[in-house]
Every structure is written in C-alpha cells, then in structure tokens.
C-alpha cells in the first residue's frame, strides 16, 4: 500500500503558497501601489489600503512590508502624473480578495477530499472497505434531490407563479389562458411523474454486490403504449391549439372592416400611434416621404390621411373589437402587450395585423390588482438595438364615452406646417414596392 501524497493536493497547496508569497513580497507591494496610486493619494492612505491585502495573503513579515510600502510610495510619486487611471485602488484589492477567497475554498475542498481518501485507505487497510458505499451515497443524494426538486417546483409554482400570472383581459386571451392551464397541468404531471421514476430508480436499483440487472431488452406492447398515449394527448392539444390559432388570426372580412382601425409604427426606440380620424380610414404612408417635419412619412396626396389623428398613448374603448395595423419604420420590432396576450412583429416593408377585443378597462384592472398605478403596456419583444429594453408605450382601456371625449381632444397629423409644406410642393414620389401602408 503506497502512501504517496496526491499530486493534486500538492499542487493546490503549492499554488496557494506561491500566490501568498507573491503578494507578500515587497516587489508586489510596490506594484500594487503603482497600479492603484491616484493623483491625490498620500502615502499614509496607500499604506493603510495595502495592509488588508497583505494580511489576507497571509504574510507574517509585516515589518518589511510597511517599510517597503513607504519606499514604494515615494517611487510612485513620479509616475503618478502620467498615470491616468481613475479606478479606485480598492477595486484591485477586492478582486484579489475574491480570488484568494476562492482559492481558500478550493484548498478546503482539496483538504476534505484528501481526508476522505485517507479515510478510505485506512478502511482498505483494515479490510473493511465497501467499494459500493460511494455508489449508495450518490443514489441517496439523487433521492434527496428528488425531494428538494419537488419542493422547489411547488415553491416556484406557488410564489413565482402567482407573481407571474394575471388573467388575460381580452376575449381571445381567455381562450389562450384556458389552454395554457390545461397544458400546464399535463406537463406538470409528466414532469413530476417522470422525475419520481427517474430519481427513485437509481435508489431502488443501485448497484449491490452479487446482484444482476434484469435482462430486458424490449417489450413491444409497452413501447406501443407509450408511443400512442403521448400521440393522443398531443393530438388533442394540437387540435385545440390549431382552432384557437385560426380563431385569432383568421377573422372574417366583415368583422375586420367593422373594427376600430389603429396603426402602430415601431422605430428605434419608440412606438407611434395613428388613429384614422372621422373617415375611419388610415391614410397611406410612403416611407420615401419621411422628412424631419413628417417623421411618420404619411402621404398627404391621399386625402384620407388628412384627418388622421396623432396620439400620445394607445387608448382603446372597452369591449370593442380593434384591428391593429403594425408597421415598422426601420428594423424589426415586436408589438407585445402581455396582459392582452397579443404579439406580432413589426416588419419593415410589410403590414401585420392583430385584431382583438379588450374586456377590462385600466381602472377595473387597477381595482382588481389593488394597485392604483397599474397600466397596460406595449413593449418591444424583438431585439432592436441598445434601448430595446426601454421601448414602451402606455395602453389605456377606457369606456366608450371616455374614449370619444379623449379622441376629440387629439391633434391631427396634418397640422398647419405640414399643410403649408404640402401645398408648396407638387412633387409626388412613386412607390414601387408592394408595401402600401
């Protein structure tokens, strides 16, 4: 039986010692203060800040250290001016501190592993070593993990689930919610059942001496069952999903036309809204007509654009079907209102539509949430650049009467400046792409 010190242990402790010595040496103290010296740091400050590093490094030679720091500080003085570093010296110390902390953890782990292997060796010497003891330990750990995992799933459903879940406030959203809950029940059942099997089998069938596994290469009946059962469940889910999807996306022609039309345009990093005005028709947009005074690029040659209304927020009447025309000025964005279960991408050169009916006003939602500041919000869900994370627009749902009042107070896009500009120019830019927004 060989008692050779494990190489790993030797090298870990060797490394640690080397690093400790490195930090303790005078040359490092000089380096440290060079790197950390800022314009106004005086010698005593340097001294006090380097001290913790030295103690951490485990240096016992504090006398030499403090003298060297003093020496270092003087040599540094000349370099201070050139040094442009504005980083606080504490930063480096913290980094070193964390690295040392990690190395200490590593050492502790190495020591523990070493103790275990010594323990095993003694057991082997006494002839009491059970080669399967670790195997059993891992099986037990997997079983413990099962318990922890199930508790974690329960906790997360209960706590985070309640944080995450808000009932949909649109008609089609209710259908989606039902389907979501059905799918959640099925998947949670599968998750829990399979994990119970996956993590109890290791415990039940862990390796034991003089035991053989059961030679069981296949069983066609069982395999057929677990092919067919998921197929049936999936078919049901697919059918419901398919019909719900068709319901949402395939709106009959007359309902499309009778709905309130609203156009939303995404650009870096804001959303603009256009209401059709009295004629109920959104005027054409031609991106080539975009100017600084007409950032939306509305084509005022189209007379139905003249009464189009510009709004700050998206305001919608409750219980009325709204058809959104989603366009993009520059790159891809995604029109996403989580509470409404509404999402569709804004694609340049193409109009996308989403039609839905909100069923709850903002006020009702606030009462329900017991949060007087709660608002529906439109976000951008497609990566679109540096302010992607803050591309938002407030969505307000109000009663029909409030909506009419609000609408009458909004300004038209075709304001006086634009009218003047339009009458002075006779230029018409032809649009040869397929996009007629």
């Amino acid at each position: 039986m060989k008692f050779k010190i494990n190489n790993r242990f030797k090298s870990i402790s060797g490394c640690l010692l080397a690093i400790g010595l490195f930090f303790a040496t005078p040359s490092f103290a000089v380096q440290d203060s060079v790197a950390t010296a800022t314009d106004s740091v005086a010698a005593p400050v340097v001294d006090s800040t380097t001290a913790p590093v030295d103690t951490l490094a485990g240096a016992a030679i504090s006398a030499t250290d403090s003298t060297s720091v003093a020496a270092g500080a003087t040599t540094v003085a000349a370099k201070k001016v050139e040094e442009e570093k504005t980083v606080d010296p504490q930063v480096y110390k913290n980094l070193v501190y964390y690295i040392l902390l990690f190395l200490i953890v590593c050492t502790i782990i190495a020591i523990i592993l070493k103790v275990i292997s010594v323990y095993e060796l003694t057991k082997k010497m006494n002839g009491k070593y059970n080669p399967l003891s670790n195997n059993t330990l891992q099986a037990i750990l997997l079983f413990v993990f099962l318990v922890v995992f199930l508790a974690f799933v329960y906790y997360s459903f209960k706590v985070w689930g309640s944080w995450a879940w808000r009932d949909a406030v649109t008609e089609h959203g209710k259908q989606i919610d039902t389907m979501f809950i059905v799918t959640t029940v099925i998947t949670t059942f599968v998750l829990v059942a399979t994990h119970i099997l996956l993590l109890t089998f290791p415990y039940l069938y862990r390796m034991r001496a003089n035991k053989r596994a059961y030679y069981y290469p296949h069983n066609n009946t069982i395999e057929k069952i677990w092919t067919i059962v998921p197929s049936i469940v999936l078919t049901v889910l697919v059918l419901f999903g398919f019909f719900a999807w068709r319901n949402i996306t395939n709106i009959p022609e007359e309902l499309r036309n009778s709905a309130l039309q609203v156009e939303v345009m995404g650009e870096q990093f804001m959303w603009s809204v256009r209401y059709p005005g009295a004629d109920g028709k959104i005027g054409n947009r031609n991106y080539k007509m975009t100017t600084s005074s007409n950032p939306y690029g509305i084509d005022f040659n189209d007379k139905s654009a003249w009464d189009d209304i510009q709004a700050q927020d998206i305001v919608l009447p409750v219980n009325k079907s709204v058809r959104f025309h989603i366009i993009s000025k520059d790159i891809l964005h995604s029109f996403y209102i989580p509470d409404f279960r509404v999402q569709i991408n804004a694609v340049p050169g193409m109009t996308n539509y989403f039609q839905f009916t909100p069923t709850m006003t903002t006020q009702e939602m606030r009462d329900k949430m017991d949060d007087p500041k709660y608002d529906f919000v439109l976000l951008c869900a497609k990566i679109c650049g540096e302010a992607h994370y803050n591309m938002q627009k407030k969505v307000v749902v109000v009663t029909e009467e409030e909506y009419k009042v609000w609408l009458s107070q909004q300004n038209k896009y075709f304001n006086e400046d634009l009218q003047k500009e339009f009458s002075s120019s006779t230029k018409e830019i032809e649009l040869n792409t397929a996009s007629l927004n």
Binding site: L113, Y205, I222, L234, F242, P348, G349
Partner: protein, 624 residues
Amino acid sequence: MSSTVISHDAAHHDSHDHHHETFWTKYIFSQDHKMIAKQFLITGIIMAVFAMILSILFRIQLAWPDKDFPILEVFLGKWAEGGRIKPDFFLSLVTIHGTMMVFFVLTAGLSGTFSNLLIPYQLGARDMASPFMNMLSYWFFFTACVIMIGSFFVESGPASAGWTIYPPLSAVPSAISGSGLGMTLWLISMTLFIASQVMGGVNYISTVLNMRTKGMDMWKMPLTIWSFFLTAIVGLLSFPVLVSAVVLLVFDRSFGTSFYLSDLVVQGQILPNEGGSPILFQHLFWFLGHPEVYIVVMPALGITSEVISTNSRKPIFGYHAMVYSLVGITVLSFIVWGHHMFVTGMNPFLGGVFMITTLIIAVPSAVKSFNYLATLWRGNIRFTPAMMFAIGMVSFFISGGVTGLFLGNAALDINLHDTYFVVAHFHLVMGSASIFGMLCGVYHWYPKMFGRMMDAKLGYLHFWLTFLGAYLVFFPMHFMGIDGVPRRYYSFTNFPFMEKWVSVNILVTWAAIIAALGQVAFLWNFFTSIFFGKKATQNPWNSNTLEWTTPVEHIHGNWPGEIPTVHRWPYDYSKPGAEADFIPQDVPFSQTMSSNQAHDFEGNEEAIRIQEQWNKDNNRTVEG
C-alpha cells in the same frame, strides 16, 4: 501528453508502416482521428469557458442593474464605463454567448469530439474515411473560433444583433454599432465554421457507411454511432442553407443588394434598398436553425444511451425504438422550422401547419425519455460521474422538453414568443441537456482519450454544483416569461411590472456564478488528469463496445493486429447464463453457449440447431 505517445512496437500492425512523426504532424496538423477528437474537445472547452464568462458578465448586469462594478471597466474599458456594462455591449455579450455555445461548443465541441473519437473506434475502423479532410475540418473550426474571439478587439464591438442575426438590424450598421466590422467578422467566422461542419459531416457519413468492420451491420451499431450518423446527415443537409443566408446577407451589407431589405428609414436616413423581405432571412436561418437544435441534442442522446446502458448493466430498452425515434426526429426536424416564426407575419395558416408538425416531433422525444426510464428499471446501477451526468441529461431533456408543448402551440406562443420562457426552454432542453451529454461523454471516454482516469470525487462535486446551478438558473426564468418579460432586455427597471423579478435575478446570478466556479473543479480535473491521473485499464467500465478492445496506449490504426470481428449487438449486459455481466461485441456466440437466446441467431437455422443440441446436452432450458 505522455499517455498519447505512440508505442514503438506498434510498427508491426498490418495496415500501416511505421513512420516517424514530428511534433507538428502528431499534435498540430494531425490526421489521426483520436488526436483530432482531442483537439476539438479542448478547443470546445476553451470556447465554453469563454462563453460562460460572457454569460456571467451579463448576468451581473441583470442582477444588479443599479450598481457599479469598477473592476469591469479595468477589463472591458469603454464597454463598461464607470463599471457598468453598456446596453449595446450587453447585446454583444448575449449574441456571442449564444453563437459560441450553440455552434462552437455544442456543435463542434460535441459532434466534433465524439464523432471523431467514436465512429472509427466503435465501428472497428483504422481511421476516418478521409483523414486529411478531417484535419481541415478542425482547422477551419479553429480559424472560425479565432475570428469570433477576434471580433472583441474591433473598435465598434462584436456582433450584437442576437445569435439569430436577423436583418435589417444585422445589415444596417447605423442601427447598432455591432453591425459594423464585428458583424462582418461574425459572418466570415460562421462561413468557415459551416465549411468545417460540412467536411466533418461528409467524413462521418462516409465512414459509417463504408468502413464498418466485419459483422458490424447497421443494426449492430451502438446508439452513439446512430446518433452521430443521423446528426451528420442533418448537418450536411441544413448547414449549406445557412451559408446561402449568410452570403445574401454579406451582399446586402457590402454590395448594395436588397435581398432582406426594403422600406427602411434608419435614424432619419432613407435607405435606397427596395423589394427585399426580412422574413426570407428568417426562413433560411431557421431552416438550419431548427435542425441545428437536433444537431446539438442528438449526439447527447446517443452518448447518454450508451452510458446509461453500460452503467445500469442492462441493455438499452427498445434499441429499435430508439433508432426509429432518432430517424423520426431527423426527418421531422426539417419541417418544423416555422414554429420560430409564428408571430412574424408569416401566413397564419402556414403557422398552423408548422404547429402540427412541431407537436408530432414531441412523440419520438417522449419515447426516448420513457425508454431511458425503462432502462434504469431493475438495473444494477453504478454511479460513475458519467452516469450522474447522464441522469442529469435525461432530467433536463424532460423538464426542458415539456415546455416545448407551450411554445410549439401557435396560440400559446403569441404570449410567450421572445420572452424568458423561451430562454428557459431552450437552455434546459438543448443547452443544459447537451452540455450534460457532452460532459457525460468526457467522463466516460476520458480513459480512452488520455489513457488515464479522471478523479471521481471531483467529478461528483462538479456534477452536483452544475446540476443544482442549472436548475436554479433556468427554472425561475419560465415565470418571468409567463409574466411577459422579453428576452435580451438590458435591465428590468424600466417597467414597473418587471421590478419584482430583480430579486429573482439576484438568485439566478448567484446560482450562475457558483455553477461557473464549479466548472473549475472540472477544468482542474480534466487538465491535471491528463498528466497525473491514475493509469486507466483497458476496459474500465466493463463495456461491450469495440473501442475498449483497443490498447490503452494510442497507436496509429487503433488495433495492433487485425480488427476484431463483430458478432453481436452492443448491449449484452447482464445476460442470463453468462459468466460476467457483460459480453463484448467481438465475442462469438460459440463462446457463450450458456447465455445465447434463440433470437440472437436472426433465423440462422444451422446455428439454432447447434444451440439446441448444446442446450439438450447441457440440460439448459431457455425461457421466452
């Protein structure tokens, strides 16, 4: 690398003459499949560490959006001025993290390593069909990695349009700074990478089809080989489509074409491009992109099958069903790409069709999971670190897989598309599951690769830290997604409804940091064991497959003498009547008369007659 020194008495093997190898031909421009596998693995590990560090950086930003970390400025300079990562650099981080993990680690690092290592070994071939192309495959991959890392040293920063690089964002440099030179480098790197994958894929397929040893018919191949073979087919058919997407994007960016661009007014500037469609890019991208996730997960499934069977000391349950479900996944993977595009404005009816095909692909995946459970049932399970990772892989495959039912359902996808729910889903089912498959393979075949053993205790430590860490990181993200938090958000502080998640983000980030530090246990174990590990025996896991019949010391041509002949399938574990609980594939039935079963002979009447005679002479009764 003392373990890999070619033994000098290998000169007498019959197919190759002994020739002198220099350092360059042996370690650098090697054409030996074993060395190339190691090159792929080590490069993959380095890329994984790099991509993991990137993820820690953006996790820090997400957990503490209002806090400065001056140390970041020391390393990142202007990208983290004042110690806070900038929004556009944040996007670069997520982009390069995704690209590296998906392509460089889980595609090249996983397939490249284990296909190269195991295809010749487990099939009984002396090397790959074309070793030179194999070498080129690695060097193209390596160059791609270097270029991708190089993009961090570009003034305008690395690519930052997301790993899916959707145009117009990726095509118009004025929209985001990362779409300048950084994006060009991304495209060059990816083109080289695809060239590497195609060369690798051709090689894997031709080796599997042509170079199997005597007796190794397709139905005697281990599931690892089946999965590498089918993965290579998927890769070969889908990667070229990404090249076309990339080339057209290069044209749009550099030569003024309009394949993907139309009607753009970026930063007040009207662009001249007309007539293209960004949706075209998405179709081309996801035609690769979706098969890609199966390219990532199928090798992991194959490796896991082998490891679970070996360590349960039990044949894999339903070998044929496992193969057919892999074939099913292979075929279906080509007709489901549209589920990434439900809400892009693609024709909704087409979306409905893609939804049906998508949910069908869940059936073979479910069959595979159930078969793993059935393999564990009544086994005699040995928990090597590889086995722990295999169990972890199955766990992730299930817990990440079930959420696919939400995302594959077009109606539910409306609310979940591009949210954290998606992040949680794919990080579990293809990220964590595949990484676990890869680590499982590393622990299992390490003795074969380096001739030494890894330290098991550090392996367990690594497993538990990673397993718990991955669940703590990704599970909570489902709930953020259900709440409607979109992915790739720089901070959660601008929307009142997201603020509650900052506390969860802190938990997630700590879990990520601890799991990341846990990888040090692996790296230490991996690199020190190469030199100081315990010497491996020839067949340390008592496994059946052919690679364990080769000598521990690597030799050119793998087997010193003749290549063994294969007589049986690779899963004869714990066969009743056999002496040991495993019978390697090269053991003929004539040596295992006491354990042979009628269906072993596949209708060979002469053999059945001899066996029956033997049974009668030895009073053996065969049930079933």
